[in-house]
Symmetry: C2
């Protein structure tokens, strides 16, 4: 039983709760023998959902939580007031070491605040970044930070580069991940005060593979594995990625319906096109980890379906088995001693 | 002759110089009777190119300039040293009032620096923003600022909003243009220090139609006409727009070639698809104006062909006829008096 990984799942968070989170949890626990799941949520509702499936009862436990934090509630107040919410109860399980990780499709703000306040940061970590995987022409890259804390300092970006490298190397299996700094030009002297100050510091880091500045136009090409930026810029990149993709696809679909000839063609290209667009869909890659905490907190899209939640849970298993928290601690501590 | 608009064109700037700039200039002067063009560049080369076409000789003049500023040269030094370059000589024509506008496909850095140093800012304008038009689902929006001066102050963003509104209303014909502030959420209290400070100031501006914060995911939908942001963020938006579009289109094309069925379909959808993608191609909309100067400076893409250069020249005619410089001056001065 020693290598069993315990993951808490928010059964009440997201657009399709409780159906999809419960389904995803069942799929995950049926697929992995070393997985134990705490399904946190309103007992009668979760029980009813679970009754639809067959699963190993000794590796699935309902943890009752009477309240639900809604998207749109001010995060700090929600965390403070709704002590019996699925989010707060699940995060407490991580804090107490009962679970090593937590997956939620609920309010991003509440997950971010809750993770930092209730789970707590690893000693030495200045900020816990939210780091989603984004699709590129080559595969995926980690975009770090897309969180809620803007106006970062150079020391934050250095830690993001280290934490992101640990994640990509050990969870995603990318050997010697290339770290790029988002900038408005590739030359060292380009940029705003933050990146100008950060560049030489990243160059000095011996435990990362810094490849220099990266311009936004090259991000989709997959020129680096860890894309380091301040949260405001990261948020713009993440959301624009989604926005340009969605508008362009809509335009293309509309264009294909413009004549009889193109309509027939559209029918023929549809299966291939669907496959292509799936590969460029961020939701395929599991959730975004909130790194630097004393446990893993994964924020999955609000619109996540069972397969995405299942993938997020799988991420938690690798994260725990590879002892990412321990490895992050090591890198951050080395840095502190070196100063 | 009083309403003749005089435009200086850099015959030596861009990937396809001198062929395409000269061709674009000829097309423009043949299309508009109230246009006079100074073609600035190496005399023998420009003469040889011009000899290919027929055009009204009384409305086209070659201005000799022996030097060329190359892309990649440090802008400030290039402007200072190459006094007989096409860029410097053309900008001097604008400064002296010989031409009301200048179009170049040359080095962005040199155009930005040259415009500010040689043409000079309108009194009261703190910063001259570069404001390209970007394609959206609804048409185009003006993204202001994408220039070289990062780390802006709130007062800069306010002026960008005003200048951008004047441009969209008078050059692009958008009535009461909607102004949005790029932010990481739509709520007023969201964002970094800069946007938090800017939001209430924009709300107070009576001469613009401020519609609040805009998230990056909504920019491609066309939710506002003037997209206000600091230059670092603007640069990321502009380049990512281009990058996501290019990668996605490449993926889609590749996907269509994956089976015989989809290959046949691809042949059928090709014409419709081409039309759609053209509408989403930034280069169709002429160049990016550098606003707030005592004349218009338009930076066209380095890869511009004749039709894009011609469109940039047409922009210059409207800009001059609508007296955009005068209108900007008026708005900026009102603001100063109001303080």
């Amino acid at each position: 039983m020693s290598d069993i990984v315990k993951v808490a799942v928010d059964a009440m968070g997201g657009d399709y709760a409780p159906e999809e989170p419960v389904k995803g949890a069942v799929e995950a626990v049926n697929a992995k023998e070393n997985l134990f799941i705490y399904l946190v949520g309103q007992e009668s509702i979760v029980k009813k959902e679970l009754a639809k499936y067959s699963y190993p009862a000794d590796r699935m436990e309902i943890v009752p939580a009477s309240e639900v934090i809604e998207t749109g509630e001010p995060p700090v107040q929600a965390i403070q007031k709704k002590k019996d919410s699925s989010l707060v109860k699940a995060l407490r399980l991580v804090r107490q070491g009962e679970a090593s990780a937590f997956v939620s499709c609920g309010s991003t703000g509440a997950v971010l605040v809750g993770g930092q306040v209730l789970v707590g940061k690893i000693k030495g970590v200045e900020r816990a970044p939210l780091a989603p995987l984004i699709p590129t022409a080559e595969g995926v890259s980690l975009l770090i930070d897309c969180g809620a804390n803007v106006d970062a300092r150079p020391s934050h970006l250095i830690q993001f580069a280290k934490m992101g490298s640990v994640y990509m190397e050990n969870v995603m299996g990318v050997k010697n991940p290339r770290v790029g700094l988002v900038n408005i030009g590739v030359e060292e002297e380009k940029g705003n005060a933050l990146v100008k100050e950060t560049y030489p510091l990243l160059k000095e880091c011996k435990d990362i593979n810094f490849v220099g500045n990266v311009e936004a136009r090259d991000i989709p090409k997959g020129v680096c594995d860890v894309i380091v930026c301040e949260a405001f810029v990261g948020n713009v990149i993440l959301k624009l990625y989604e926005g340009v993709g969605a508008t362009l696809i809509k335009k293309i679909k509309g264009g294909m319906m413009s004549s009889l000839r193109s309509k027939i063609g559209a029918l023929l290209v549809k299966p291939a096109l669907k496959e292509t667009l799936k590969a460029f869909d961020a939701s395929e890659y599991g959730g975004a980890p909130l790194l630097g905490l004393k446990g893993l907190v994964v924020k999955s899209h609000g619109s996540s379906k069972a397969n995405e939640i299942r993938n997020s849970i799988f991420q938690c298993i690798t994260f725990t088995q590879e002892d990412i928290c321990g490895k992050i601690k090591e890198h951050i501590t080395t840095e502190k001693q070196g100063e």
